[in-house]
């Protein structure tokens, strides 16, 4: 690994200033579970590493009237251990619970997962499904971008060199809503998703009709995707196999997975279909108040 400077500001303004001063040669470090490895292999060679873990705004985890606020550097173990997240933003808890193992989860953040902008980042489809909004700060002020529009290519996103992701905000959850994230990996743990699917579903009071749905897909295109039509086609429909089958087909239409050593295009398309159906089934069960659905299938 090359030699570099290290700073650990405790105030957001200071972090932004250091970033602005460095003219693109600095990299923020949250958990470092992506960055350090990328520096070791030479993919990133920042001259300054700005450790943002001590900045208070980046470490919030709050559920208030306006929804859930997750600081960009808040580690996964806090997120998946949080009662509110488990109860209402379950897809996010699901994702944080499977990123790496215990050691990784105690450092890794969803901000880092998102800013790393890997197509297979596990938290991203979950955050898309929960309609997360990125709050971004830079020298010119603050702006907001939906998670679904944050990533622009493999390893690329909307952030300018002088900008930091401060937090991801999620709208409040309606009653009778449920969500789930699941990925397909060849192993049982510690693996890169071949396909990842997050979904959120809201039902009418009777629990029979879908009133809102949002689906995020991972590892099946150059960026994580919002499967907009797949979500829309569920709205107003009664819960049935045929309804879910429509969403499955709509989701498959927008994906463009590659063939690589982790799976062929055909296989990924097939598994996307399987996972969309399974994830929707679980999200729907959760929306009906059944929190823990043990659905067979790996």
């Amino acid at each position: 690994m090359h030699a570099f400077d290290y700073k650990s500001p405790e105030v957001l303004a200071e972090a932004l200033q250091q970033l602005a001063d460095s003219d693109g040669s600095a990299k923020p470090l949250a958990g470092g579970t992506d960055l350090i490895d990328q520096m070791r292999t030479g993919r990133h060679q920042p001259t300054l590493v700005i450790d943002i873990k001590k900045v208070a705004e980046l470490n919030v985890l709050e559920c208030a009237g306006d929804g859930l606020h997750v600081g960009a550097a808040t580690p996964c173990y806090r997120i998946c251990g949080d009662d509110n997240v488990q109860q209402d933003y379950t897809a996010l808890a699901d994702a944080c619970n499977i990123i790496g193992g215990v050691q990784i989860q105690s450092r890794a953040s969803v901000g880092g997962n998102l800013c790393n902008s890997g197509p297979a980042g596990d938290s991203i489809p979950a955050m898309i499904a929960l309609r997360g909004i990125c709050v971004i700060a830079g020298s010119a002020g603050t702006r907001e971008v939906p998670v679904a529009e944050f990533c622009t290519g493999p390893g690329q996103n909307v952030l300018a060199d002088n900008e930091l992701l401060v937090e991801i905000r999620f709208p409040p959850r309606p009653t009778a809503s449920g969500s789930h994230y699941r990925r397909m990996i060849p192993r049982n743990e510690m693996d890169i998703a071949v396909v990842g699917v997050g979904a959120s579903v809201t039902l009418n009071e009777a629990g029979t009709t879908i009133t809102d749905a949002c689906i995020g897909l991972g590892a099946v295109g150059p960026t994580p995707l919002l499967a907009a039509r797949a979500g829309e086609c569920l709205v107003g429909q009664t819960v049935s196999d045929a309804t879910l089958a429509n969403a499955v087909e709509a989701a498959k239409e927008i994906i463009s997975p590659i063939t690589d050593m982790r799976g062929t295009q055909e296989y990924r398309v097939h598994v996307t279909g399987v996972l969309v159906r399974r994830v929707l089934e679980t999200a729907i069960s959760r929306a009906t108040g059944d929190p823990c659905v043990v659905r067979p299938g790996h």
Partner: protein
């Protein structure tokens, strides 16, 4: 025979042998205190990094190391290959850069400028026709055996052809099958490498090796010194599996750099270099037709298989096809394919795991087509097992079946219920191995303060060798493990064979028991008079020496040793590989059963339960013996489900040569593993036999058979990845 005085205590007499002792270095290992070669750092050392070829097949057109030498921090650049040299696989090392820091060495490597003339590549080892067209095949032997022998006038080939065909046609049950297993690498978690120090005409090499006693010579020859001036040390090793017997050209290069610079040099291969260069297990793909009688007893086997051991061709030896179950009539033929992959090295039971995976799957398929219980079909064939130990296999099969609940859970292939698309199945496989004791010498000292210290140039591959040595000594002297000091892991100790072929436990048990019995005899002679007994009447138990059957006529171990005064007892005892001995033996069986659950929608296979029943003669240390089997099963499950060398057909590049993509099993992937040591008196009396390799043989076949039992269709080629499972289900495999 002089050897008759050596023996093991009976099960009833034994105090330590056969008892569940923790391994001596368990605490060091689990707390990270144990120093592996990778942990050895010497004062003022240089760190070396190497440049590997980016191309799989090329010649070197030019080499320019000026910029590398001028890189800040770089102290020395050692060029390993000359201009014109033909590189035959991606990653072959070309130059080594030694520098003050790892970063400087890495930067130096990027500054080594090489140009190449690229050549054609071939890496499609599963594709026999493509290999033929590319001119990459060569016959790799074969054999035919028929019960009816050709007459004097018969052309042998024609006769065999006709006879095999006749037997096949006459068989009431026929099967044609295709089975394969991709190449995997050794993937030692501690890569190959060393930290070496050349000083005052002597070389000290901390080498990650399975062979401390046999690697000094390679350093000595290259550096023009005698092996007496070389010491190879290896206290702990993070995996070798058959790939770490030699100093290797990179180890020798580190020594040269140390001599040249006068500084210690640490040179460990990077992960991708480890996977590309430091050993792999040959692939094998087999087409077979078999004919069986109405009981499922195979009468005729006719197979051809191919595969690669790398650039020199080769593949799986035809001598182990068909595996364990050897029908009365068979014809086997092997073809080797030369590919642009690194050369294979011995991998835990060379040839056997692949042979098992390619042939016992066919036996299971026979059960499938006959709609019979696989247990019964395997059992029916035990009259034709290659080692003649059908009774042992049957006994072990029954034990395994009982543990896994075969009778209650088994269903015919593809007949189990589907729960949400998940189906379960069970499969079994049999294996065999030698495990003879290697040559070994033990030097033993008993001092007047009662201390006991042994030295032996063997090594502990993580298998518990140190613990076994201590258990044998403590048992013999009636002491506890803490009372003896075991020294191993240096070429300065008396020679002991390389740890390969499951030969170590036999080797060290032989040499240590012999030395201990010899030394005890001398001590008995010293104290017999005081106890008014003959030396042969004495026994050593519970920290004392007493007259057998009369505990009152006793002297404590310490008191006995104090009589030695300044004259310690010093003995040296040896065993020579191949010599008959009452202490060790060779030839083991083994039965394994797997229970899996397969998701038919995603193709993901999960191991639910895995049972390994293993014989290995007399078990010195049950806990380390079991550990060995757990490790073997985990390794085998990885090969069954995940491990695979993936080469790009266009470039020959080894595309998954990193741990993120070269997948090993994690603990969450292996299910419940149950190990049963099969040690009835008939086995125990045979003496010690190695078990390092045998339990690594069956897992792939057992898992394949369980998957087939679940699905009702065969996934032909290991690893059984989700995609391959789905392809098989769709009839596209």
């Amino acid at each position: 025979m002089a050897d008759t005085k050596y023996s093991w205590p009976t099960r009833e007499e034994a105090q330590i042998i056969g008892s569940r002792r923790n391994r001596l270095d368990g605490m060091e290992k689990s707390t990270g205190a144990a120093k592996y070669t990778y942990d050895v750092n010497l004062k003022d050392q240089l760190i070396a990094r190497a440049l590997g070829s980016p191309h799989a097949h090329c010649t070197i057109a030019s080499i320019d190391i000026k910029a590398a030498e001028q890189t800040p921090g770089v102290v020395h650049v050692e060029v390993l290959r000359k201009v014109g040299y033909e590189i035959k696989w991606q990653g072959d090392l070309i130059a080594v850069v030694a520098a003050e820091s790892e970063a400087a060495a890495a930067e130096g490597v990027t500054n080594v400028k090489i140009t190449y003339n690229e050549m054609d590549v071939f890496v499609q080892d599963a594709e026999l026709e493509l290999a033929r067209k590319a001119g990459r095949t060569a016959p790799a032997g074969g054999k035919s055996v028929t019960q009816v022998e050709p007459g004097d006038d018969d052309d042998e080939d024609e006769f065999v052809e006709a006879e095999i065909q006749r037997l096949y046609d006459a068989s009431p049950h026929k099967l044609e099958g295709y089975y394969g297993i991709d190449a995997i690498t050794h993937c030692c978690l501690e890569p190959h490498g060393s930290t070496v120090q050349w000083k005052d005409g002597k070389l000290l090499a901390y080498l990650s090796t399975q062979n401390v006693s046999g690697t000094d010579e390679a350093f000595a020859t290259d550096l023009d010194m005698t092996s007496d001036d070389v010491e190879v040390r290896c206290e702990y090793i993070g995996g070798g599996f058959g790939s770490k017997f030699a100093a290797d050209y990179w180890g020798v290069a580190a020594a040269r750099i140390s001599k040249e610079t006068g500084r210690p040099v640490k040179f460990m291969l990077s992960r991708d270099q480890e996977l590309k260069n430091a050993g792999n297990r040959p692939s094998g793909y087999l087409k077979v037709r078999i004919g069986a009688d109405n009981n499922g007893v195979v009468q005729v086997w006719d197979s051809q298989h191919w595969g690669t051991a790398g650039v020199r061709g080769g593949g799986i030896s035809q001598s182990v096809i068909p595996y364990v179950i050897q029908p009365p009539n068979y014809r086997r033929k092997a073809i080797g394919i030369k590919t642009n992959n690194g050369q294979a090295r011995a991998w835990r039971a060379p040839n056997h795991p692949q042979a098992c995976a390619m042939t016992q799957t066919a036996i299971d398929d026979l059960a499938r087509v006959m709609k019979k219980d696989a247990f019964d079909v395997f059992a029916a064939n035990l009259g034709n097992v290659a080692n003649g130990k059908g009774d042992v296999y049957l006994a072990e099969m029954k034990v395994a079946a009982e543990i896994i609940g075969w009778k209650d859970k088994y269903h015919l292939h593809g007949q189990g219920p589907s729960k949400g698309g998940v189906v379960e199945g069970m499969g079994l496989a049999l294996h065999m191995w030698g495990g003879t004791a290697n040559s070994s010498t033990c030097r033993l000292v008993i001092r007047s303060d009662g201390s006991v210290e042994s030295s032996c140039g063997t090594q502990d591959l993580g298998t518990g060798t140190r613990t076994v040595c201590a258990m044998v000594l403590a048992e013999t002297f009636g002491l506890d493990l803490d009372d003896v000091t075991v020294n191993i892991g240096s070429s300065k100790y008396p020679m002991s064979g390389a740890s390969g072929g499951s030969t170590t436990v036999g080797a060290v048990s032989e040499s240590h028991r012999r030395a201990a019995q010899d030394a005890l005899q001398i001590l008995f002679e010293k104290v017999a008079g005081q106890l008014s007994a003959k030396p042969e009447e004495l026994v050593a138990v519970n920290g004392a020496i007493h007259v057998a059957g009369d505990k009152k006529r006793m002297i404590s171990w310490k008191a006995a040793c104090s009589r030695l005064g300044v004259q310690s007892i010093e003995v040296s005892a040896s065993h020579k590989r191949g010599d008959a001995s009452p202490l060790s033996n060779s030839g083991v069986c083994g039965v394994q059963m797997a229970e899996v659950a397969v998701d038919t929608e995603t193709g993901v296979v999960k191991i639910k339960k895995f049972v390994a029943v293993q014989d290995q003669g007399l078990v010195i240390s049950p806990k380390t013996c079991e550990s060995q089997i757990y490790g073997a099963v985990i390794m085998g499950i990885a090969a069954a489900l995940y491990e695979q060398r993936i080469s790009d057909p266009a470039t020959g590049a080894f595309v998954n040569a990193e741990l993120s993509d070269y997948k090993l099993a994690r603990l969450g992937d292996v299910g419940e593993i149950i190990v049963e040591l099969y040690e009835p008196e008939s086995e125990r009396q045979r003496g010690v036999i190695g078990n390092g390799e045998p339990p690594a043989i069956s897992p792939v076949a057992a898992v394949s058979n369980a998957i087939c039992n679940a699905l009702g269709v065969r996934v032909p080629v290991a690893p059984y990845t989700p995609q391959r499972v789905l392809e098989a289900l769709q009839g596209r495999a």
